[in-house]
Symmetry: C2
Subunit: 180 residues, 2 copies
Amino acid sequence: MGSSSAAPWKQLLIGSIQANSHLKHYSYFQLATISPNSRPSNRTVVFRLMISSTAHLLRYAGISLNREQFRISGPVDVIDGMNPDPVKLQQREKSWFACSLRSRMQYMAPTPRVSVYEQASQTQTPSLDPSIGPVGAFCLLVLDPDQVDYLNLKTNERLIFTSGLGVDGEKLWTSQNVNP
Amino acid sequence: MGSSSAAPWKQLLIGSIQANSHLKHYSYFQLATISPNSRPSNRTVVFRLMISSTAHLLRYAGISLNREQFRISGPVDVIDGMNPDPVKLQQREKSWFACSLRSRMQYMAPTPRVSVYEQASQTQTPSLDPSIGPVGAFCLLVLDPDQVDYLNLKTNERLIFTSGLGVDGEKLWTSQNVNP
């Protein structure tokens, strides 16, 4: 057990991503949340590594890389166009323009989970001006990790990284070697 | 939208598993649950297809197969050795013997998530009699699906199967074509 103000799991994760970048499915991860009806919900999403300038925000949640597993958890900030924080709005816009045009078009698709018969079919394919900023449906999800559970299936090593607050209110990480 | 007492998604899933059985990672899936501290929790587990004789119990939760996604949800019955139902105890025992000896040994490993320093290291490798039934730590998880969300990323078709009760109290499945 040790403590550090730098996130010690981050180098582990970045190294693992780089070592596995030749794998096709490395860019997907699973994001688990709790639905309004109190049920666990899960989906496979595209992994877009974007480390913010504040260096402690990463936008993902749980990653399996070859024989290594990272289970990252923490509160998620959902940033839509109505967010009062100009810095967050800027992050959202930056993420929008970082998406391909094809990805951006997906946010103009008919409402997910609505019956295909209920919604009037569009008479024409929506067009999108590449210079236009994020559409209303586009939200940026920022996960602020407070626990990272790392499992190496090759060595059977398991490390749990937990964040707490230091005496000056700064984020402090501790790590612990636990049984797999 | 239609309704049926047979589970219409099951054939879809079995077909997809068979079509993808050549893929190495087809035997893993993600299981999301809610932790006692009300957080979503996720883990990758080995997929063991076991259809019970009652034909509506399947023991898994969420599967991604190549370009098809199945998100299966429903209540989970955790069957341990203290379960009062003899049929369930028998299912648990059957699952135990269906595991390889190596898999069974894992249930005799030191308690997961406990510090490697806290638990006294074992002086000898535990041995396991192949004819002995399930150890105390072995639980069988039975998921009784009440919703299956199917997404085909090739055709962009999405189907939501939902179960309800028929007039005679039997399980009835309805399906709906929805926007992806």
